[in-house]
Symmetry: C2
Subunit: 214 residues, 2 copies
């Protein structure tokens, strides 16, 4: 089976936003409330790096636990790594993901500003500039035959969708409004010309949209 | 997180049967039509050992692709290995699963009749006699910290449920009647005293029942 580019557990508001405006070090999701936006994921037993043995093991958990399943690399936008803009001024700060980032593979961070690669636990961050296709080729090579996760944010997912490089998307739609910020779509129907879709409501209140290439 | 005992993609008819009567070499599911019973699984992209690159990648596929995710061993009943009863008379016949069995871990086959272990590709079959708890302890040890899959059939799942050893169950209920054979339950409600449950209808027509321990 060929190497897929997969979007997984990407969470947006009912009005299509993955994050609000005014991202900062203290507020990775800007004006959006991350506790409310990500509540469905935080409640699952398989949430990466969960500290206790609780959590639900229903539908949401099956989707969450697919996070690392046959994934060999991730591509993420710069804003998923940190809130800085322009040239890097502080190499000591190593991203939002702590000493044990949940990715456990090479991660390619899209940025116009070079910075040396570094490793935290099982995750190595590389900082790359280039067209989506070029970055994807590099991530595929690093993935050693496994699939590549496209980690977001919304701007990055859009960029790869516009280049027609995405094979599957799982988007969780949360019943809340954000109003402004980075937007994935005007409507989930936007993708139906190129993708099959299943819409699966969950007991948690979110609705999972599962897309795969026609 | 502790090692779970997981039932996955276990498929039953609307009247609760995992297989019909009169199992034979030619008819692993006895009088039940396996093509109809397993159609939902056969249609997915991630069906183990799928030969082509087609198949759907919707809800059913997320459940199917969880098959080997963090699994380190399987326990199965003798009738899932083959139709023979009583002492083994032909060691040349190595089960229904071909030269590349989909399990890719140690597999513990429950039987009162000893037989030497053997390996096919990445799968090693062991033939064990013992109480469910004893067999589970052995499978857990072989799983090297990962979870153990309880592979079925229905009689084996019941045996481990009755011993209260099962942590999670995913059962796909197919809208067809079998009428007689090996039965998992009178009703999916039978398990609600010990398990949480979510019921998730799929576009394929099957209904997924997801159980996890209270």
């Amino acid at each position: 089976m060929s190497q897929q580019l997969r979007v997984q557990n990407f969470t947006v508001s009912a009005d299509g936003f993955g994050a609000g405006e005014h991202q900062s070090l203290e507020r990775p999701f800007g004006t959006a409330d991350p506790g409310r936006l990500m509540a469905w994921l935080l409640a699952t037993a398989s949430m990466p790096n969960r500290a206790d043995s609780g959590g639900n093991r229903g539908l949401d958990d099956y989707l969450v636990r697919d996070f690392g399943n046959n994934i060999g690399a991730e591509i993420m936008g710069r804003n998923k790594f940190g809130p800085q803009r322009g040239p890097w001024t502080d190499h000591e700060w190593q991203g939002w993901w702590g000493d044990e980032p949940p990715f456990r593979t090479p991660v390619f961070v899209l940025t116009h500003h070079p910075r040396p690669s570094f490793t935290l636990s099982d995750t190595t961050f590389h900082f790359v500039d280039g067209e989506p296709k070029t970055v994807l080729d590099r991530a595929r090579e690093a993935a050693g035959g496994k699939d590549v996760r496209l980690g977001g944010g919304a701007t990055t997912v859009r960029q790869f969708l516009d280049a027609d490089l995405v094979d599957t998307l799982h988007v969780a739609v949360v019943p809340m409004e954000i109003g402004a910020g980075t937007r994935l779509w005007e409507s989930p129907d936007d993708l139906l010309d190129r993708f099959h879709r299943e819409v699966v409501p969950s007991a948690s209140g979110v609705t999972h949209h599962l897309f795969w290439r026609r």
